[in-house]
């Protein structure tokens, strides 16, 4: 649905040269929710803005639904943009227009006759749960409500793609959840491909099928969100994962530990697979769970447990080998 080929964006002034996006290639499939994470200044917004040519890449190609966006005339580009919705961290509603007129403007821009706008706007406002706010001005709305209006505006012309630039970063956690739920619903019901930029791994965890990690304008790691969470390879990715799968054991506990500490990762459903009891039966070791957590990465569970193994060193090593075979992801975090 979205193909990005070797896109570069360089900001050049007389005195400076800033590389916003550095040779990025991505393939985002139809119906996917794709996350792009990275710290501030990593180039996420610039990349996203290239996807509807709010920013013209210095080089490279952008295809949406097989259309080469950079080959379009201004007029064709305006038409193409009607099938690419966009929402922003700052909402950017027109403060002088009512909620109704903010949404209607998108239809007007697409040349929808006035008589057909009303029903469509009301339908959209119902969809985002603001059916009763049509005549309010944006100043009267909460942040979450403003973002809902901007989602309605972005969906007005039945886009194939929805670009979200830090859409939840200005919102509190519970509002963030509700907006993410709305995006999920939109993705499911209409099959709209969604690209989400964020610096919060929580967002990826919640709704992204796939994600890419950006640093200094480059995509340094990409893959299914589950793989990224379960098996991050780059230090930055690990840092991001840490924000969700935070396993800080108290210093005191680590010191008082007698045995070997291992971190076990369980993928998918853990219910039918009694690995822990198996290992304790097979080897003369004692196991002691110190910490555990199951996170759902877009509805698929990922369990992480920290266990202390006590016993003869050889037996412990054998037990660890056995665990390794069964689970793949076993990490010794402290030796006895």
């Amino acid at each position: 649905m979205i193909t990005i080929e070797n896109v570069n964006k360089v900001y050049e002034t007389k005195t400076s040269r800033v590389v916003g996006v550095d040779d990025v290639s991505l393939e985002i499939k139809k119906g996917e929710i794709y996350g792009i994470v990275g710290y501030s200044g990593a180039g996420k917004s610039t990349l996203l803005r290239c996807m509807n040519i709010l920013e013209r890449p210095t080089s490279g190609k952008i295809f949406i639904d097989e259309v080469d966006l950079l080959s379009l005339s201004n007029k064709e580009l305006r038409k193409a943009r009607q099938s690419i919705g966009m929402i922003f961290q700052g909402f950017f509603l027109t403060s002088s227009k009512t909620v109704f007129d903010n949404v209607a403007f998108a239809l007007k821009a697409a040349g929808v006759p006035k008589s057909e706008r009303k029903d469509r706007v009301l339908e959209l406002l119902d969809l985002v749960g603001l059916g009763d706010k049509a005549n309010q001005y944006p100043a009267k709305l909460s942040g979450g409500q403003k973002q809902r209006v901007s989602i309605a505006r972005a969906l007005a012309n039945n886009p194939k793609v929805l670009l979200c630039d830090e859409a939840t970063s200005a919102l509190d956690p519970s509002t963030t959840k509700s907006i993410l739920a709305l995006l999920k619903k939109i993705n499911k019901e209409f099959g709209i491909t969604i690209v989400i930029i964020t610096h919060e791994m929580e967002v990826v965890k919640e709704i992204c099928d796939k994600c890419a990690v950006m640093q200094d304008g480059q995509v340094i790691e990409q893959g299914s969100s589950y793989e990224i969470f379960a098996n991050p390879t780059k230090p930055l990715t690990k840092q991001f994962i840490q924000t969700v799968l935070n396993f800080e054991l108290p210093e005191q506990l680590l010191e008082s530990c007698q045995g070997t500490l291992v971190q076990l990762q369980f993928r998918g459903s853990i219910a039918g697979d009694p690995v822990v009891s198996d290992v304790l039966q097979k080897f003369p070791v004692q196991g002691n769970i110190l910490h555990g957590k199951v996170e759902y990465i877009k509805d698929t569970p990922l369990g992480i447990f920290i266990m202390e193994l006590l016993g003869d060193q050889q037996d412990v090593n054998n037990a660890i080998d056995y665990l390794q075979q069964r689970l793949k992801q076993v990490e010794v975090i402290q030796h006895a």
Binding site: L54, F88, L93, F105, A109, A110
Partner: protein, 220 residues
């Protein structure tokens, strides 16, 4: 003293209406020409959707040029132009010509700077839904700057009242003319004070009205 005021009333009336004509025409031209010039200055600026260094540059220089000429000099300088347009250089209509010329760049700059206050994101959001430049101007920029446009008109009107007094001194008519003729040449303080009071009331009224409307249309 009251007798004197009543005596001068018919003349004051005429002068008042002349001032209104001058200021009114100036404002009208400011809206018809100054507004588009201001919008053009804004949308052709760097990073905006009709970015055009040439148009912006040329327009900017012309605007600055007119703005840098003191009004009393502009008035005299434009006599030939006024004569060419109206075949005369006296009376409120003749004075309106130079008032209008001064009002255009004055208002244009106010329009430009109030448009600059719009969050660029709001404009980008409009570009992102595929709106055309004209639609963005008409449906986003103008409504978003409405309060600024109205307070700008207030400021322009008040400045034009000041300018019209200057125009009055060299044959434009209006309240300024009245004040000079009686107050300055004939030392008639009663008339002098009366004109001052009329002007104060007029300016206060315009300011109040402008603020009121600007506030009423502000939805922020």
């Amino acid at each position: 003293m009251l007798d004197r005021v009543i005596e001068i009333l018919p003349e004051l009336n005429v002068a008042f209406i002349e001032t209104l004509i001058m200021v009114g025409i100036g404002l009208l031209v400011a809206i018809i020409l100054g507004l588009p010039v201001g919008i053009l200055l804004y949308v052709t600026d760097r990073g905006l959707f009709l970015e055009n260094q040439f148009v912006k540059g040329v327009l900017g220089v012309i605007v600055n040029l007119i703005r840098s000429i003191p009004f009393i000099i502009l008035l005299v300088f434009l006599f030939p132009f006024t004569e060419f347009l109206l075949d005369k250089t006296t009376g409120p209509f003749a004075a309106s010509v130079s008032l209008s010329v001064a009002a255009i760049p004055f208002y244009a700059r106010i329009v430009e700077s109030s448009a600059r206050e719009i969050d660029k994101g709001v404009i980008e959001a409009a570009i992102a839904v595929g709106a055309s430049p004209w639609m963005i101007i008409k449906d986003i920029i103008l409504p978003e700057t409405k309060p600024g446009l109205i307070s700008g008109l207030t400021i322009t009107a008040i400045s034009l009242i000041g300018y019209s007094a200057m125009a009055g001194t060299i044959g434009g008519g209006g309240i300024g003319d009245l004040a000079i003729r009686y107050g300055y040449y004939r030392y008639d303080n009663t008339v002098m004070f009366t004109t001052v009071i009329v002007l104060i009331v007029l300016v206060q009224f315009i300011q109040y009205l402008g603020d009121f409307i600007a506030k009423a249309v502000n939805k922020r």
